[in-house]
Symmetry: C2
Subunit: 374 residues, 2 copies
C-alpha cells in the first residue's frame, strides 16, 4: 500500500518464496517492486528450494555472506522479475508454532473482558512470558482467504453450533528460527538461532475461544488459520530498530534476563477494508523476543528450523491490536467511512497489517479476506 | 515385556520404521520377534522411506491391499530380520500434535487437585472434547531417554528456577492421521483419515505446569518430551476391539454424534522400574477418538498426514493413568518392592506403558528412562 518501491531498498532485502507461471517455487529477495531470483543470481542451489528452511538452517555466517552478495547483485538489474508477475508462497515450512502473550496492555484488557471481577493479570504473568502452541499446519501466506469458522459458542448461556459471530484479528510480530537445538539443550544467543521476522495475523474466533479455553487454552478459536507476511526480514536489516525493552518489575529470574537489546522500535498498522483502525507500537511490549526464546527452550525443548513464535497481540499506548479490545468485546463499535461500523469482522472484510521501523524500513504486510462460513 | 512373540501374529502386524547397522531407516512390519522388511518383501518404494507418512497418505484402499500382501508374505520367513538386530526409529514424521482430555475421571481428579474448592469439571467439559496443541518437534520414539526438565515452579509461594520436582507420566492412546483434508473442510469418517494407533507417554512436569498454565494452557510443563511406541497398529487390526463408547449426558451437538463404535476395548498397563502400578481401561473414556477428530476439524482446520492426536490421560474404574492421581499430588506415595515408594519420578526410573485388547492383541509398549537435570 503505497511507497513500497521506496522502502524496499538495499538496506532492507527481505527473503521470500516466489514462482513464475509454470515454474516451481524458489527463494527470492525483494528489491523495490522486483524480486531477485537468488538461485539464478547467486548460483546456489540452496535457493532453488520451495522454502527458506534449507538456507535458514545454515546459520549466521551464511546469512551474512548471502546478504553481502545480494547487496552487490540486487542493484544491477539482472535476474529481477517484476513483483506483479509472480506468485508469492508461504516462505517457510513451519515446524512448531508458538504464540506468546507479551503485551501488558493486551493481557490486561483480555483479562478484564474474559474474567470480569477478577484481577486481570494472572499471578504468573510478570514472572514468565506466557505462551502456548498453535497449529502449524494452518499457517498460511498473506493473501490466502480465510473462511469464517464454525464451532460451539454460547447463545443465551447454552452451547450452540454455528458460524463464529465474533471473528477477530490479532496483530503480532513473528520470529522465525533458523538454527536448531538438540533435545535437552537450551538455546544460545537470540541472534544465533533466529533468522528474521514476519508479520502475523492470529485470526481469532472470540466466541469459540471464550467457551473452549478453560482449562487447557485456546484451540479451535485459533486453529482455523494464522496468516503471515510473504517476506521474512532478516535480523541484520533491523539493527537500527533495536532498542532496550521496557523495565520489568519484578526483575525476571536469571535465565530470562536480557543480554542485549532485542526490543524493536517499529509500529504496526491495522487496516479494515483499507481504513486505518489502529497503529500499535511494538517497542513497549513487556516481554522481548529474546526472552521468549530463552523461555521456550529452558526446559530442554528442542528448536527446529522453521519454528515460528509470535509475540501475541501488540497493544500499547492506547493503540489496540485486536477488535476485541478496540470495540471492548463489541460494546463500542468502531466507525468506518460511509456510516459503517464494525464490532467484529463481517464476510468480505479485508484486513491488512503492516509495519514500519522508526528508520522507515517496511516489513511489508499480511492481508486476508473473510469468506462466508459454509 | 514377555509373550511378545505370541501376540504379534498375523492378526496384528503393526507398522514401524527400522534400520540395520550402516543402512538407512525404512518401513517394516512386526511379526513375532522379527521385522519384515516391506520394501524388500513387497517391492514397493513407498516402504523404502524413513517414515510411514508416504504410505499413510495413500488411504484406505492402499492400506487394505498392503495388509493383505503382508499377511501372505509374513509367514514365509523371507525378508525377516530378528528384532534384536535392528534399531527402531520414530515411525511417523509428526505434523501437528494435539492432546485431548477425554477421561471424565482424570479431568475430575485434576480439577480437584489444581482448583480445590471449585467444581472440578469446567462448564464446557461435557459439551466438547477439550484439547490443546502440544509440541510436535519433541515427540520421540520409545527408548529415548528423557532429561528431567528445568523451569519455573513455586517454592513457598514464590517462583524459583530449578529441576522439576514433580515429574510425571500420562498414559494415553494416540491416533495417527494418514489422509489429509484441505483448509476449510471438515474431516469425513474417522476410518477414512486415521491410519492407526500408538501408545503415548505425555511426560508432564506438574510443578511447572500448575504455575504456567493459566490462562493459555500447558506449555513447558509438557513440551520437553512426548514418547510414542515404535509400532503403529492399523485400525484394521482393531476391528475386534471396537465397542460403543459410554453414554453421554447431555447428548452432544450433532457434529459430535458417533456414527459408528470407535471406543476400543483395551487395557493399558503402567510399570515403574518393572513394577505394575496401574491398569486403566480405555473403553470407558467419555470422548471417543472419532469425536475428537470431528471436533478438531469442525472449524475448518486442515489435517496433514502425520498429525497425531492423543486421548489425554486414561483413568477409569479407579485405575489412574498418572502419578499425580495415583499419589494424589504426592500426598499418598505408592509402594514399590524393597520398601521403596514413589510420589513422582526419580532420576533413573524407567516407565513403560503397554496395552492389550480384550482379544489379546498387543499394542507393544512405550518406554523411557529419566536422566538427571543438567
Amino acid at each position: 500500500m503505497g511507497g513500497a518501491g521506496v522502502t524496499f531498498g538495499v538496506e532492507n532485502l527481505p527473503y521470500g518464496v516466489f514462482s513464475l507461471p509454470g515454474q516451481s517455487p524458489r527463494v527470492g529477495v525483494r528489491i523495490g517492486d522486483d524480486v531477485l531470483d537468488l538461485a539464478a543470481a547467486l548460483g546456489d542451489e540452496v535457493f532453488a528450494m520451495p522454502y527458506l528452511n534449507p538456507f535458514m538452517a545454515l546459520g549466521r555466517t551464511a546469512w551474512r555472506e548471502a546478504r553481502e552478495r545480494v547487496k552487490e547483485a540486487a542493484p544491477t538489474g539482472g535476474h529481477r522479475v517484476p513483483l506483479d508477475q509472480v506468485t508469492l508462497h508461504l516462505p517457510i515450512e513451519v515446524a512448531d508454532y508458538v504464540d506468546f502473550y507479551a503485551s501488558l496492555e493486551h493481557a490486561t484488557n483480555v483479562g478484564l473482558m474474559f474474567r470480569p471481577g477478577e484481577e486481570p493479570l494472572k499471578p504468573n504473568w510478570r514472572h514468565l512470558p506466557v505462551g502456548y502452541h498453535g497449529r502449524a499446519g494452518t499457517v498460511v501466506v498473506s493473501g490466502t482467504p480465510v473462511r469464517r469458522p464454525c464451532g460451539q459458542r454460547l447463545v443465551n448461556g447454552r452451547p450452540e453450533f454455528g458460524p463464529s459471530l465474533k471473528l477477530d484479528v490479532e496483530a503480532e510480530m513473528g520470529f522465525v528460527v533458523g538454527v536448531p537445538t538438540a533435545l535437552g539443550e537450551r538455546a544460545g544467543a537470540f541472534e544465533d538461532h533466529v533468522f528474521g521476522v514476519t508479520l502475523v495475523n492470529d485470526w481469532s474466533a472470540r466466541d469459540i475461544q471464550s467457551w473452549e479455553y478453560v482449562p487447557l487454552g485456546p484451540f479451535l478459536g485459533k486453529s482455523f488459520a494464522t496468516s503471515i507476511s510473504p517476506w521474512i526480514t532478516p535480523l541484520e536489516a533491523l539493527e537500527e530498530a533495536r532498542v532496550d525493552g521496557p523495565a520489568q518489575d519484578p526483575v525476571p529470574l536469571p535465565y530470562l534476563r536480557r543480554a542485549a537489546p532485542w526490543a524493536l522500535d517499529l509500529t504496526l498498522a491495522i487496516e479494515v477494508d483499507g481504513e486505518p483502525v489502529s497503529a500499535p507500537p511494538y517497542r513497549e511490549m513487556y516481554w522481548t523476543p529474546d526472552q521468549m526464546l530463552a523461555h521456550l527452550t529452558v526446559n530442554g525443548a528442542s528448536l527446529r528450523t522453521g519454528d515460528l513464535f509470535a509475540s501475541g497481540t501488540v497493544s500499547g499506548g492506547g493503540q489496540r491490536g485486536s477488535l476485541l479490545e478496540l470495540t471492548w468485546n463489541g460494546a463500542e463499535p468502531i466507525k468506518l467511512s460511509g456510516g459503517q461500523t464494525r464490532t467484529f469482522l463481517e464476510d468480505g472484510d479485508i484486513v491488512t497489517i503492516s509495519a514500519v521501523t522508526r528508520g522507515g524500513l517496511s516489513l511489508g504486510e499480511v492481508s486476508g479476506q473473510i469468506l462466508p462460513a459454509t
